[in-house]
Symmetry: C2
Subunit: 327 residues, 2 copies
């Protein structure tokens, strides 16, 4: 016979109401209570039905979106599409920019656990938040590794890294530098680095990855990229891990009297609508931002309704052929 | 003797509870009831005290932000700062991008009237929403004319228009075109146009303002700006009303074989951190985005607590001297 919520409550030594609260992520519950109930669910292999899940659940109609900052065009466009998709399905969105305040992520997660939002979509780069270890949370990550239970929506970062590096090698250069975030951040974007290093090695070329933290201010980034020009004075090409930074690199090259593409080739990453229209000459890898938003919303709504989902959704990328990659 | 809420209710022919709901923008009220109570308030010159204002008021801790789209760097940076300021004061923000859906503004206004958010900060370009005629709403507009009772926070658009036009005239050109939104949209940004036309006329030059709707897609904008190049083949300079469009103009000029600044001078508007770092060569008018956000939040919180505010806050602008304005 299938185990019921009563059985879970009994085994965990809590009331049925408490067990339901755990199931529906409602109210402030102690870590001990959460663990006891989750352990009991696992032991009994309890599969909640929709009714049990909705028992004490009151919809707020609100979804929290936590991203580093909407002032970056990639996140600006992503949040714009997410808000659009969710609004079509009667959800309004609460937005938290986590770049200046890493506590925000915990704050919003607590809001979720207290039932003040119905779900979260996260694209922050913070790490090791203990609360995520509780399973079944209505949370979806975009381009970020959380724990083994939180679904991730991402574009094909490995393929993007291959396309970018191969494009530069096809242009006839060999001294190609790659810039990326610290490898301690477990983001799928690190696969761009893996792909770059693989292609370089396959061609017998030496990979050089230059680490630069996404969270630096513009002034700090400029200083760091100027260091890059000092460290690799004879570089012929740079594969930059996002278009805003590619723009900074292009502007620094100009300041230093270098011509792009005559003296230096540049390939960026992200391919937002803004960049493709304002700086169409920049060769870049286009992430399918609108599609990523749609998939993330679909997956979150499944998760909220207790429907099973995949754990990883990888969407295809494209190469935008500008003039910065042609000699 | 000072009139009391009871007197207002009596004159309007409603209960004290209803009068209080009108005062505090709580619950769904008919237009007729709102009008009766507002008329009575005006007739009696009723000045609500803080206690009357808070009588039935329950704080939600949520502020609605309605802007065209956070995918535009100006609104992206503005929303980022607004969210930061409000978070410091224990408010979370609901964000609505109104560009693709003009009903959103009405929707969020109804939410406000129903007490589901504590206040609104608006920067949309929609017009003629009848609901705003009710006074005392906790609403602040950024760079947008609403009605005579809603405070506006803006930067000095007239001064910005003067600075931009004067800069181009100083560079020695005379055939200067200005682009701006349709004059039917009552935005303070129209003062840039007024200033441009004033300076041109003062110098005995003919002003030409080219109208382009902010709400067009990138593809439509490109087509429209290509028309601009066809209509004014001998133009020497363009003063573009925002930096994203200035970027598009620069990219079109390049496509058409024109060099900037040798063949065409360009001055933009907004001066976001993103543009100043990615395209530092673009001369532009810098709006004090962070300061505008701080003032808007201050004014909104005053408005929520029933404190009197000014009706217009004009913040200073700066000229960012790039190379696109020098021959």
């Amino acid at each position: 016979m299938k185990p019921k919520l009563e059985d879970v409550a009994k085994l965990a030594g809590v009331s049925k109401t408490t067990a339901s609260h755990v199931l529906n992520n409602r109210g402030y519950l102690s870590e001990k209570t959460l663990e006891k109930v989750h352990d009991a669910m696992e032991t009994l292999n309890y599969q909640p039905n929709a009714a049990a899940r909705q028992l004490f659940k009151q919809k707020t109609g609100l979804i929290g979106l936590i991203f580093p900052t909407v002032s970056n065009p990639f996140f600006g466009e992503l949040v714009n599409y997410l808000e659009y998709e969710l609004y079509q399905r009667d959800f309004k969105v609460i937005i938290g920019n986590s770049l200046q305040d890493t506590h925000k992520e915990t704050d919003y997660l607590n809001q979720l656990l207290a039932g003040q939002v119905d779900g979260l979509i996260l694209g922050t780069h913070n790490q090791g938040i203990a609360e995520y270890k509780y399973s079944h949370l209505p949370v979806v990550a975009i381009d970020r590794v959380m724990n083994s239970d939180i679904p991730i929506v991402e574009s094909d970062n490995y393929k993007g890294g291959i396309l970018a590096t191969q494009r530069l090698i096809n242009a006839g250069v060999t001294r190609i530098i790659h810039t990326n975030g610290p490898s301690s951040l477990e983001t799928p974007a690190q696969r761009r680095r893996t792909a770059y290093e693989k292609v370089m090695t396959d061609y017998g070329l030496e990979p050089h990855t230059f680490t630069i933290d996404f969270r630096l201010s513009f002034a700090e980034k400029k200083q760091r990229y100027n260091e890059l020009f000092e460290i690799y004075p004879d570089m012929e090409a740079i594969f930059v891990s996002n278009d805003v930074d590619a723009g900074i690199v292009m502007s620094i090259a100009k300041e230093r009297g270098q011509n792009i593409p005559a003296d230096l080739l540049v390939v960026g990453y992200d391919g937002t609508e803004l960049m493709r229209n304002m700086v169409p000459e920049l060769t870049t890898i286009v992430q399918p931002i609108e599609e990523m938003a749609k998939v993330a919303v679909d997956v979150l709504l499944k998760r909220i309704s207790g429907t099973k989902t995949e754990l990883e959704y990888i969407l295809p990328v494209d190469l935008w052929e500008g003039e910065t990659s042609n000699r």
